[in-house]
Amino acid sequence: MSLLDVSGLTIRYGDDEVVSGLSFSVGTNESVGLVGESGSGKTQTALAILGLVPRQATVSGSIKLGGTEVVGAGDLVLNRLRAERVGIVFQDPMQALNPYVPIGMQIRRVLIEHGIAKGYEADQRVMHMLDRVGLPDPERQFRAHAHQLSGGMRQRAMIASALIAQPELLIADEPTTALDVTVQAQILDLLERIRDDTALLLITHDLAIVAGHCERMLVLDGGKLVEEGQTRKVFSVPGTAHTKTLLEAAPSFDTTTSPSPVGGELLLDVDSASVSYRERGADGDLKAVQEIGLELREGETVAVVGESGSGKSTLVRAVLGLIPMRAGQVTFCGKDISGPVQARATETRRDLQLVFQDPAGSLNPQMRVEPIVAEPLTVHETNLDAAARKVRVMEALARVGLDEQFLTRFPHELSGGQAQRVAIARALIVNPKVLVCDEAVAALDASVRSQILALLRREQEDTGLSIIFISHDLAVVRSISHRVLVLYLGRLVELADSEVMFARPLHPYTRALLDAVPVPDPLAPGGRLSIKGEMPSILAPPSGCAFHPRCRHADARCKTERPEQRRIAGTEVACHHVEELQ
């Protein structure tokens, strides 16, 4: 008999059926991936297994966990099930942890409530668990609050709390989506290592993760199970068209080729830009970006890459004039435009446009699509009358693949992909020379992401648009960019043509980033760990080379002396050990 038996599970919200007739099982000690795009019912399924579906939903069918029926079970039965037999790790640990209660006390509570251990013994078990999930100095972490931990550490604490009562099944709902790629690799590795004989149900939209960590996989589409099988088999011979599309949309890192370098005219030249914030209570300024140079040519895409906190968004915001620079110069088409955006000439403002990560947040919720897209025209082309403006809006929408039925919609009536298209249309309507995309595809499903990337590439071919592309996703970066800039703690560590960088990364940090990318291939899943720990706080940057605490090549010199930026075979790199590593 299998551990978890789901049969004919149907979840409805009013007339909406979010999960329909779902049947699957998870065996003891098995790891199963539950894959689907947003809205496919993955999370609802997970909640139903825990009996956590909201009251207004109706659940029918049967979920048997080790012989106990969950559907329709009372609170007493469910409370015994949770933690003792099934644990869950959510996507956002900040929201899953109580901000007012120390981490250790939260985990300890599980033991007390379930009568597993108490007093000193409970403390010891929590401490031991914290140690196992890789939280350094468990005694201190026991008393730490959620906000004092980094994202990765919080997720480790969540895992500790899910596993403390030694459940038979661990459900992980997008456990690494909110984390950086290197931390993602660490967390997935930890899940794999720590679960002993706990079965794992891993819910994700990322096929690459499933490829590396699950024996079996289930593919959901619109609440229905469309495919089920051994991971290797599904990847090599996808049984349905939907799985095939998912696999094609997944950024297959190793087969992607980068566009060749272009030799257009120099458009934007950023010279040793520095940004610092004054931080209350800190000694001196918080140096978010230090002496970074960047060149952008016509028709070129430059990617800015780094983990969160590396300063990539700060850098482009300073270039765009949204935040002040402490030092450095920005030259656009031969003119110095270093000041704030309000001080720039109208034409310059028109030529530099930005697309944000969160498509819904960058559109005014109280405006319809037509005035949103038309807004740049009201500033830059004031001579247009209403009819001419509408024609231009329609043209811009057509460029991004939307038709006139969208004109009267409100942002909340658009899907994520459609909203991002509207945001791109608004940026492109005045035909800018430079488009800055700040994680513009990070929040989108894989299939939508590849459509948006194709759209950007086509615009570039048609109009010679230059793009600055900020991303933490190296597979995406590889497919779209001509040159790549890698940042670490506000400093440049490597800059090269993307063909060169992906073929022969020089800096140990770049290598670690590349190694950590999971690959949607069960035979060579990638996602390897080659660095330890997480990015230190920018408030207390390490001495010498900022990367040395995580670098396995670090020696005494790296601790004291900051490496200068050097040019080696077409690559700008800042590392003392480049020669030996080459």
Partner: protein
């Protein structure tokens, strides 16, 4: 959410607005037309008919008071005064408060600090003291009551709007508007103001009853509406004194006052749902 429940939700919000708005409209209409139709005027006294209970004889529909004045006309006059005071005071506080708060919040920095300290200073001024000063310096005047109430209420509004603006300012659509080159007044009008209207509407529905109450409080102290003019608050306070034996003098204006307050609250609730486009999902 399904189509059915969406329709129900929509109908309910519109129905609240329709019914409460309708009742307010009818009350206002009667208050305007009534005194013209009635054979009595608000200041004529009739010493033969003191403290008459409501009757159809001689058209004393709401009875008469202890001076023999017709209460039907006086009550309607009170409704007129109350509504005008409440609405004008709220509109004054709305306009000043929203513009002031949005500007302080959006511009930020030193401008914000100076503007909000001014608000704090005004807050610290005792309200009654302020009103007495006004009434001493100027002649007793209907308009002064609006000024006094408006001057107090816009402070709350400015604080609320500033707080909302501070959080909106960081939103990406505002940053994106700045980048496009949209001017600051236009950003405030087109991007900030529409997004705080939901909160503001709710707050106005709180201000209107508050303004009505302040007005009756001032009238009670003898600082507000002066005899022979009247307001609902004043009628209620007189009615309380005559509660034994002449209950109509209290019950009729009190019922009207309660109805008006309730209708404004429901109206605000419904309007908020209609204004907030995200809620109609």
């Amino acid at each position: 959410m399904s189509i059915l429940s969406r329709t129900i939700a929509h109908m309910r919000t519109s129905r609240t607005v329709m019914i409460s708005g309708g009742i307010l409209g009818v009350i206002a209409l009667i208050a305007i037309v009534g005194p013209w139709v009635s054979p009595h005027s608000y200041l004529d006294t009739d010493f033969d008919r003191l403290l008459q209970a409501p009757t159809l004889r001689a058209m004393n529909l709401f009875g008469t008071d202890d001076l023999g004045r017709d209460l039907f006309v006086r009550t309607l006059l009170g409704v007129q005064v109350t509504l005008v005071v409440a609405i004008v005071a709220s509109v004054v506080s709305l306009v000043i408060g929203v513009l002031y708060g949005a500007t302080a919040g959006f511009v930020g920095g030193r401008v914000d600090a100076v503007m909000m300290r001014l608000v704090d200073t005004l807050y610290a001024t005792p309200f009654i003291f302020f009103v007495i000063l006004l009434l001493v310096v100027f002649e007793r005047n209907f308009l002064l009551i609006f000024v006094a109430i408006g001057a107090i209420n816009w402070l709350d509004m400015a604080r609320i709007v500033r707080g909302q603006t501070l959080s909106l300012r960081e939103r990406e659509f505002v940053e994106s508007a700045k980048l496009i080159g949209v001017s600051t007044p236009r950003i405030i009008l087109r991007h900030i103001a529409p997004n705080i209207i939901g909160v503001v509407i709710v707050y106005v529905t709180l201000t209107i009853p508050q303004a009505i109450l302040i007005e009756s409080f001032l009238s009670f102290l003898g600082l507000g509406i002066q005899e022979p003019q009247t307001s609902l608050g004043k009628l209620v306070s007189v009615g309380v004194l005559k509660m034994d034996g002449s209950a109509w003098m209290l019950l009729i204006p009190a019922t009207l006052l309660a109805t008006i307050l309730l209708c404004f609250n429901f109206l605000g609730d419904g309007l908020r749902d209609l204004f907030d486009s995200r809620q109609s999902r």
